[in-house]
Each structure stands twice: as structure tokens, then as C-alpha cells.
Symmetry: C2
Subunit: 427 residues, 2 copies
């Protein structure tokens, strides 16, 4: 049906009209509707049956402007198509790590899906000192499977037309996921504005002119950021979530779900991992404050955050490598069928993982800087209400981000990322 912005009042009528909802709700007489969106781009309704709260769905509808700015910033509501297509592809590749889609309406720019009512957004919980011991394993599985199975390494198939190597299916995906609007958002708000005196920036109160200049007037740093931006714009390697941070993961002690892939597009393999690790390092910084406030020794929790950083990267690398080996066994690329071929294939995987890691480190650094100088903040740091602690945290984020970007291309292991974080912000 034609686009119409829903409200709490009319959501139930809309649900009633859908056959797919009759499988979820035993009755529509006593549904509870609550708008809970805290993102920038959408309204999110949780609908549950008061008679049986297990009968519940989430409805997410895109609105035709950037919510955080207001109606003056128009955005194409077709972006919901990207989210739905990405959710379905992610669910196919990573069932149990992504909410199930029950219904999607392209014209209404909305999706109705599994309500993760036993899970909470990881970022907020981390600020309360909650650990998610299984999250690194789950998320690294999500990352490894998505990166491998949507890449040419994982998708190049054997077809009748091209018995050895057919890449048409992947190119169809690239075409489907050309996501101009939201890529422009990222290119501007992550890779551009924070690095010069854009009016859109929002400088934290404790940041000095010298702090800003340490980023915005460092030629080597900006050259590297411009090249990371170029990779983001050009390297159509894998289907990315596009906005993977601790606010896009809902988890509990047993399960983790990756949500909100409206920024999905084909981009560089290290981008999602980099964004996530950058956000974890922002949490590492913020926990100096939050753990003290909770009356804990910050070192304990912060050590867990760093171990999670390590586990996410190493889990990704190990699983990705294994998926590729399994794939090669099932669909042998004749390139490696020669004496010495195993070694060459091993070296190829090693080279690729190392290249992805360099990009990961660079993207991690970029996101730490953008969350400090740019428009959109993270609560890990921006909610700190003690001015000195906030300023210290912001400065640390800039310093770690900068080092990650400058050193990304020569880094050999995730331990080097962790060492940089610990040097700037000791445990």
C-alpha cells in the first residue's frame, strides 16, 4: 500500500490487515503498542499481546528525513528495501544471529520482524557493567560467514556457462545493494566532516583547539583517511551491515543478534569489523568512568572489553580461514590444483586476512575520531557527566583513533591494537 507514516494509534489496524500477523497473534483485541526508536532514521514499534506477551513483533518504519536533524534533511525512504534485503540475506547465511523477517512492505517502507524481547542493546548494558561472554564468538561467526559467503572467494561458482568460475551472482548482489543515500551519509559523517571544520561537527566541551588541530591539520592522517574513504566507496568486496556497532547488537548471556542493517551495501571486508572494534575501544575508554561510578575496579571490566576485541578479531580470522578451506574442498578452484598448490592457497588466505586486518584497524580508528568530533556520539563517552573525565575520555579516543589510522598498514596482529589502547589509556 502507498506510504503512510504509522503512529501508535493506527499500528494495530495495519497489523490486523496482514495475513502473516495472524500466525503470530492469536487475537488483536488487546495489543500493546510502544514506540521505542532511538536511532536517527526510523520509528520502531514494539507490539505485544497483553494476553500472551510471547506473541510479539517489532515493526520498523523509515521516515523520509534524518530523524535526529528533523524534516529539513530529506532521506529516501527506499532505504528500507536495503534493510529488508540485507536482513533476509543475513538470515539465510547466519540464522540465529539476525532477527527473522515476518513481513515487509516496500511502499510503506516498513518491516515486521522477530521481537528480541529477551535481549538488550549491548552498548547500554555495557555502560551498566554487564558482560556478554558469548557475544564475541557469536559476532565473529556473523562477521566471518557474511564476509566469506558474500565475497567472490565464497560466491564464485561453477555453472554450466562457466564451469570453473562464474561471478555473475555476486555482481547481481553488488548491483542490488548500491545504496547511494546511506553510503553518502557514511562518507560524509564518518570519513569527511570530522576531519575538517564542518558545521555539522559537534565538538565535545573539553576538547581544545590543539586537540582538533591534531586531527584536522595532520596531513598524513588525513591522506590515510581519504584513502580509507576511497576504499569504502570503491572496494565492492562483501555485503556489509554498514553500521555495526555495540548499539546494533542485541544480546543476553546466551544469544546475540545483529540488527538494523539499513546501511547495507557492498564494501570493503574490514569495514564492519573495524566499526565494531572501534566502538569496543570507545567502550574500553568509557569504562574508566562507568566502572568507578559502579564502585568497581575499572581494570576488571576493561580487561574483558580488550579480551572481547581480541576474541572478535581472532574468531573472525580463524572462522573465515576455515570457511574458505571448507569451500575449497567442496568447490575446488583449479588454480590450486598443482604440486605446491596447498601452500600457495594457504599463503593467499594469510595475505587476504592480513589485508582485511589493515583495513579493520584503519576503519576502527576513523570511527573513534568521528564519534568524538562528529555529529553522532556514543553514550559510552558522551554520557559521562563529570567534565574532566569526559574530556580525558574524548582526548583518549582521538589519540587511539589517530594511532590506529597511522599505523594500520603495518600492524601485524590485534594485539598491536590493544597495546595502542593500553598505552594511551592504561588499565
Amino acid at each position: 500500500m502507498a506510504y503512510k507514516q504509522l503512529t501508535e494509534e493506527i499500528v494495530v489496524d495495519y497489523l490486523k490487515s496482514l495475513d502473516s500477523m495472524k500466525k503470530i497473534f492469536s487475537s488483536f483485541d488487546d495489543l500493546n503498542v510502544k514506540e521505542v526508536g532511538d536511532g536517527n532514521l526510523n520509528y520502531v514499534y514494539i507490539i505485544s499481546n497483553n494476553k500472551d506477551p510471547e506473541e510479539t513483533v517489532v515493526l520498523k518504519q523509515a521516515v523520509p528525513f534524518l530523524r535526529v536533524v528533523g524534516e529539513s534533511w530529506p532521506l529516501d525512504i527506499e532505504r528500507m528495501n536495503f534493510e529488508v534485503a540485507a536482513l533476509k540475506k543475513e538470515y539465510e547465511i547466519c540464522p540465529g544471529l539476525v532477527p527473522e523477517v515476518y513481513h515487509a512492505d516496500s511502499e510503506m517502507s516498513l518491516v515486521i520482524m522477530q521481537n528480541l524481547n529477551k535481549h538488550t542493546i549491548v552498548r547500554g548494558e555495557m555502560n551498566k557493567g554487564i558482560r556478554f561472554p558469548k557475544m564475541p564468538d557469536h559476532v565473529s561467526t556473523f562477521l566471518a560467514r557474511m564476509v566469506f559467503f558474500t565475497s567472490d572467494w565464497g560466491m564464485a561458482g561453477k555453472t554450466e556457462k562457466w564451469p570453473d568460475h562464474d561471478t555473475a551472482a555476486k555482481k547481481e548482489m553488488v548491483k542490488q545493494f548500491i545504496n547511494e543515500d546511506l553510503c553518502n551519509l557514511t562518507e560524509n559523517f564518518i570519513f569527511s566532516y570530522p576531519f575538517y571544520p564542518s558545521e555539522t561537527n559537534s565538538y565535545p566541551p573539553g576538547i581544545s583547539e590543539a586537540d582538533k588541530k591534531s586531527i584536522q591539520e595532520d596531513g598524513e592522517l588525513k591522506q590515510k583517511v581519504a584513502l580509507l574513504r576511497y576504499k569504502f566507496m570503491n572496494n565492492a568486496e562483501v555485503l556489509l551491515h554498514g553500521d555495526l556497532h555495540t548499539g546494533s547488537i542485541m544480546a543476553n548471556q546466551d544469544e546475540s543478534y545483529v540488527i538494523d542493517p539499513e546501511f547495507a551495501f557492498y564494501g570493503p571486508a574490514g569495514f564492519d569489523i573495524g566499526l565494531l572494534l572501534g566502538n569496543m575501544l570507545l567502550a574500553y575508554i568509557g569504562q574508566m568512568y562507568w566502572q568507578k561510578k559502579l564502585g568497581n575496579d575499572p581494570a576488571d571490566y576493561r580487561r574483558w572489553v580488550l579480551s572481547a576485541v581480541k576474541e572478535i578479531w581472532e574468531g573472525f580470522a580463524e572462522k573465515y580461514d576455515k570457511l574458505w578451506q571448507e569451500h575449497q574442498k567442496k568447490n575446488p578452484d583449479p588454480m590450486w590444483d598443482f604440486p605446491g598448490g596447498d601452500d600457495a592457497f594457504t599463503e593467499l588466505r594469510r595475505t587476504e586476512i592480513s589485508r582485511i586486518f589493515h583495513d579493520t584497524a584503519g576503519f576502527a580508528g576513523t570511527v573513534m575520531i568521528r564519534r568524538t568530533l562528529g555529529l553522532a556520539k556514543v553514550s559510552d563517552i558522551a554520557s559521562i557527566d563529570d567534565p574532566d573525565s569526559r574530556a580525558e575520555a574524548d582526548k583518549m579516543a582521538l589519540a587511539i583513533g589517530k594511532k590506529l589510522i597511522l599505523q594500520a598498514e603495518t600492524m601485524k596482529s590485534v594485539q598491536e591494537m590493544i597495546t595502542i589502547a593500553q598505552e594511551v589509556s592504561p588499565l
Copy 2:
């Protein structure tokens, strides 16, 4: 109109039906029609008015199979849409270096365009010892303008929506030029088959098992080729011609035209240049034989070929750099508006040109190997009728190609490419 394969007999009736042809031909009573296609994918008709031979056009029609193999190898005739779209875009960016399109019919899978009747295919003429002194300048202009103006560096615009940096227009081009069929051809016939014992290969008579193994069983080489293939498949940087060799350039002593862009797609910036330089180096090898046959000292002509290699690369690099500087003056990227910004911008350009050169060298080496072991040969070498000279030339092509691929990433200048060629095949 619906697809119908033209023949010499019915071409004139087709032309008569087109308004656009009434502007070219003063009458249709005495037209001469000749099929001249020698490519793999199309029929090409030259039509001229016997009463005034300056009234002339070329009509190119795609056929639904790979012509060199026959009807058993089906190919999508929609590929003509890519050729027409690319010709128009190239003409817009490089008028005078690309034939003008007079008429295109998507359903008939054909294009009618400027007949380059004062120009000849460069490859064949080179084998006759003809030099094209202005060709390197023309072709490097074509390459620099195409690479710059279709890249994000040249296309990222300032729009109302994104006043600093809008990349939507380039992404639309990427989408339009997703060219699955012909990219699969390249990925298989250039980057895959020649590097393992594929049945499609056609090994030259003088090539030994050891020669084949020096390519097909070298793990380091194959790993680098797999990564070049990956770049070809993933790095959607610039609108490429996709098949730029000395057989895709028509020239005379004053003008040069780049023809046949049916392989056009968005790919790595160094691909076209690499293919062309690889083909020039194959000519350099072949000229050992052809110049002797013409009774000349081969060193003279071969020196010209190497100077052309140098001039094409250096001309490209210089012009590309200049276009970028001019663009930055007209559309300043605020990233470089700070004290020291000029230096950072200069360093960025230097880094990018160096990266493009590394890719160029790798692609050049790959194409030299594929033209030796793979299905499609070049007449520069494959027409050599003396078995010993032919074998020597084929071995040299493999040796130079291999060195280029292995050393690509560490090469600093085009002189290193030339030195490799001269070491393997002395003047």
C-alpha cells in the same frame, strides 16, 4: 525493432529505415556493404556510398554467441548496450579520441557509428613496421581523462543534498556498467585458464612442459594473479574500456581512436593501461622478427616501442595528476583546506598514482601470459612463421610477464618495466 541478425544483403534496407542515416547518406541507391569483423563477438559492416566514399558509416552488430568458438558458446547480446553506453560516455569525456555514435538500437543489439576510414588498426600496422608517433600522447590523454573523470576523485560533486561530497552519480554509473557476461570472459580467459591446465588453453608449438610449469606451478605467481583477479572483480574505481590493446586502437600519423568498448565496466584504474602496456611489450618482442623480415635493424623500431611504453605511462601519470589539481581548484575538497593541506594533497596524488602503477604492471604481466598460453593470441607473435623465432618470442613473453607480476608491487617507475623487457629480450 526485435533482434534479427543482419547480413550484407539486408543492411541497406535497414539503413534506409533510419532518419539518422538520411543525414549521412545523400542517397541509398549505390551503397557498398562489406563485412570486415575479425573480432570474437560481432559482425562489423562498413557501408559507404559509391558515389561519394566520404559518406560512410560502420555498423556493428552483436551475435548471440562467442564468434571464435561458434554457436556452442552463447553470449548475451545485451552486451551491445554496454558498448553503446561506453562509447557515448567516452565521447563525452574524450571527443576526437572515440568514434561518434550516429544510431543505436538496443533490441537489434547494434550501433552505427563514425567510419574511421582514414585510420588503421595499430597492431597490424606495427607488424608492418609503421610507427605512430602521436599515438602515445593521444592514448595517454584518453586514459588519464577516463580514469580521472569517471573516478570518485573526479566525480564526487557538491550537490544541494550533500554540499561537500556527493558520490551518488558515480554509484549510478557503477550500477549501469555491471557487465557480468564480459567480465566473466575476462576473469576466466585472462586471469584463470592460462594459469592452470584448462582445456581452453592453446599452447604454442615451441613451448615446453617446463615453460608451462614455470607459470602454472609457481605458487607465488598464481597467488598474485588470484589477487589481481580479485581486484578486477572488486575494485569498482573507474569506467574501463575493458579490452584496450593495440587491436582496439585505430590511428594514423595525426589521429588515434579507441574503439570496441563492449567489455566496459567499473574496475581498477590500472587495468586498461596494464593491458595496453602488456600488448606493447608483446609487440616489442615480436618486432625482433618482423623488423628483420623487413630488412631493418630491429633495435630502431623496438626502441620506439619502448619509448611509447614510457610515454604512455608517463603521459597518463602527468595528465592524471594535472586533471586532479585542476579539479581541486574548481571543486575544492575541504579535506585539504588547512596549513599543510597542499602537501598532503600532493602526497595523496603521488600515492594514488603509485598504486595505479603497481596494478598496471601486474595486469600487463598477466595479459602477456594469457596471450601466450591462453586461447586468444596476438598476431605480433602468433603470426611469426619461423618456428624457432616463434618459440623464442613465446618464451620471452612468459618470462617478462612473470617478472612483471612478481615485481609489480615494488616497482617504482615505468623504467623498471622497460628494464625487465630489455633484460629478457635485449634490443
